[in-house]
């Protein structure tokens, strides 16, 4: 599904070259659930943006479903994001002036999908995340957990093959965090390729495997069950 080969992402800042990613190679199979961990500044977010086609590698090859996407023009990348990829962010950014249903509908509006089909798919997506009763609520009228579930419904309404989540529970209390993680697990079990960036070993533990980044490189690979070792690695960060 995802094949990264020697991916570099280099920024030039004040004449100095910064390597946010320095030669990352990784293959992720269809339906896998992968957690990306690592300290701040290790390149987690850059890797996620790269995987999500929001950013292009400075060098290296990124093949998505067998197709090289590293050097696609912007219009094509937008199409890939539209059809292949869903994003879930830490701060669950919803468009404040739109109600929940309209937020979920948004990707389909830009994809030019007709009204009737949109309505049906919004209904299904909201049902899938368990917030069908909140369709007419605006973001300000919902709890953090509900908002994140709206965001997940929005990220999956186009039926992408890959769901990218950046600290999906970072702003949630543990009860709604667990709800959201259960939801993601269920989607992963249904065949969605799920990549989660997190600091939280409790979140990472649910993944099939964990990739640990340090200074833009992959420094460790392990199974999700091995996460307790990791907790020792980042001493004191156990949830």
């Amino acid at each position: 599904m995802i094949e990264l080969a020697d991916i570099w992402r280099t920024y030039t800042m004040g004449g100095e070259e910064l390597h946010a990613l320095a030669g990352v190679s990784e293959t992720i199979e269809k339906g896998e659930h992968v957690a990306v961990m690592g300290p701040s500044g290790s390149g987690k977010s850059t890797l996620l943006n790269m995987l999500g086609c929001l950013d292009r590698p400075t060098s290296g090859s990124y093949r998505l479903a067998g197709r090289e996407v590293g050097d696609l023009p912007d219009t094509e990348l937008s199409r890939v994001r539209q059809t292949e990829i869903g994003f879930v962010f830490q701060s669950y950014p919803l468009v404040a002036r739109l109600d929940a249903a309209a937020n979920v509908e948004l990707p389909m509006v830009f994809a030019g999908i007709g009204r009737a089909e949109r309505r049906e798919r919004v209904r299904r997506a909201m049902q899938a995340v368990g917030i069908e009763g909140r369709a007419k609520h605006r973001p300000a009228e919902m709890s953090g957990g509900q908002r994140q579930r709206v965001a997940i419904a929005r990220a999956t309404v186009m039926e992408p093959k890959i769901l990218l989540a950046d600290e999906p529970t970072g702003n949630l209390d543990s009860a709604s965090g667990t709800q959201v993680l259960d939801l993601l697990d269920r989607m992963s079990a249904d065949g969605l390729t799920l990549i989660v960036v997190t600091h939280d070993p409790g979140v990472a533990r649910r993944a099939d495997r964990i990739v640990v980044l340090g200074d833009g490189r992959i420094v460790r690979r392990m199974a999700g069950s091995q996460v307790t070792d990791l907790a020792r690695l980042f001493s004191g960060s156990e949830a």
């Binding site: 999500g52 219009t75 937008s78 199409r79 994001r81 830490q90 002036r97």
Partner: protein, 400 residues
């Protein structure tokens, strides 16, 4: 993306910032209203003037001695035009079948007095046809009698204001006034008329044309008015005038003005003035456009994370561009419609207060100002919209 969805999204975004959007909408509305109202006033002035001309009748041909074109003759030889004489006028009256009326005119300024009261006024030497040619009416008495044009006679018709000045409460009819050195008996008073083509028709004396030429000691007429029976025969009559006078004078040395030409020229000047005023009003539309640009720039910078989000979910650059552009155009065209409504109300009010003034905005001004408001929105919206569409999605998302 479907046009209706695009409109819906843009509308929602505007509704989300009511105060700002409302204020810039007012800006556009004021600009459009200014353009429409000012052109309506200009157009009203033009129609008012041409209405004045039409009240004189459009079948009038005015013959003026002298040619207002460069002639082929050598300067100094035959430079001064030939006189336009009473005999010429009589010839015209005889030989132009299309002419209903031919009125020779001699015009000058003279002191008119009665006892101690004296007044410098316009003296018009004319014939009996003048009353009809100029659409004048009598308040009392009678106009100049039908008589041979070359016979001077000591009678005078006074403008209403002049009659009051000279006679106060007395009945002027039958009274005697001095026009220059000559004495004349008042035989009629004109109905009040106001200023007509620059001449105050209430403050003048009309005497037989032969008498006037004696006062002024002139042989040449000031001009000859010819009223043609049918409007379409004006050109024909004009040609006849030129031919007859060329034959009599041995050269083409008169100028014919038609009412159409004069009112057309004046109308042209007023149309240019109207355009100039509209242009000035257009400046306010430009200012309104800058207001829109300001709103859109703030909107883009406030909604940067939203743009990042939309880009992350697959919106293309062009779609982001279209979204913000449609917002700007929606704003400016709504302003345009409100401005039009306001200007319609304003012109209705003007017409209520001054019913004789036809303050009607011309159709082109309505169309142009609406189109202009659209263009203003697109023009000033494009910069912020481009800014939005070029945001890097990663940075727009706030680096998260």
């Amino acid at each position: 993306m479907r046009p209706l969805d695009l409109l819906g999204l843009a509308w929602g975004a505007l509704a989300g910032q009511r105060l700002r959007a409302g204020l810039s909408l007012v800006g556009v509305a004021v600009g459009v209203a200014a353009v429409v109202v000012l052109t309506a006033l200009g157009e009203g002035a033009r129609r008012y003037v041409s209405g004045q001309f039409e009240s004189l009748g459009t079948n009038l041909l005015i013959v003026i001695p002298g040619k207002n074109e460069t002639t082929g003759s050598i300067p100094g030889i035959g430079g001064a035009p030939n006189d336009l004489t009473l005999e010429d006028a009589e010839a015209l009256a005889r030989r132009i079948p299309q002419a209903e009326l031919v009125v020779p005119l001699a015009v000058g300024n003279e002191t008119v007095s009665r006892g101690e009261r004296r007044r410098q006024v316009t003296v018009i030497g004319a014939t009996d046809g003048f009353l009809e040619a100029r659409r004048l009416a009598m308040r009392s008495g009678s106009f100049l009698p039908e008589a041979d044009w070359d016979r001077a006679s000591p009678v005078a018709v006074l403008g209403s204001q002049l009659a009051t000045e000279l006679f106060e409460h007395e009945n002027p009819l039958g009274g005697v006034v001095r026009v220059g050195e000559a004495r004349a008996r008042v035989i009629g008073i004109l109905e009040q008329r106001g200023t007509q083509l620059g001449v105050n028709m209430d403050d003048l004396v009309i005497v037989p044309v032969a008498s006037a030429m004696q006062f002024f000691d002139r042989r040449s007429l000031f001009r000859v008015l010819i009223q043609v029976g049918v409007h379409t025969e004006i050109a024909l009559a004009e040609q006849r005038v030129i031919d007859i006078l060329a034959e009599r004078h041995g050269e083409e040395d008169v100028t014919c003005l038609t009412q159409d030409a004069v009112s057309g020229a004046l109308g042209g000047i007023l149309a240019v003035l109207t355009l100039a005023v509209a242009g000035i009003a257009g400046v306010s539309l430009t200012v309104a456009g800058i207001g829109i640009m300001n709103v859109m720039l703030v909107s883009v910078s406030e909604r940067t994370p939203e743009v990042g989000l939309l880009r992350a979910m697959g919106a293309r650059r062009r779609q982001i561009l279209a979204l913000f552009l449609v917002e700007a155009v929606l704003l400016s065209s709504a302003g345009g419609v409100i401005g039009l409504t306001a200007s319609w109300l304003a012109t209705q009010l003007v017409m209520l207060w001054y019913p004789s003034f036809p303050a009607q905005p011309p159709a082109w001004a309505i169309g142009a100002s609406l189109a202009l408001s659209l263009v203003v929105g697109a023009l000033f919206g494009v910069l912020p919209a481009r800014g939005a569409s070029r945001l890097d999605p990663v940075i727009a998302l706030g680096g998260k």
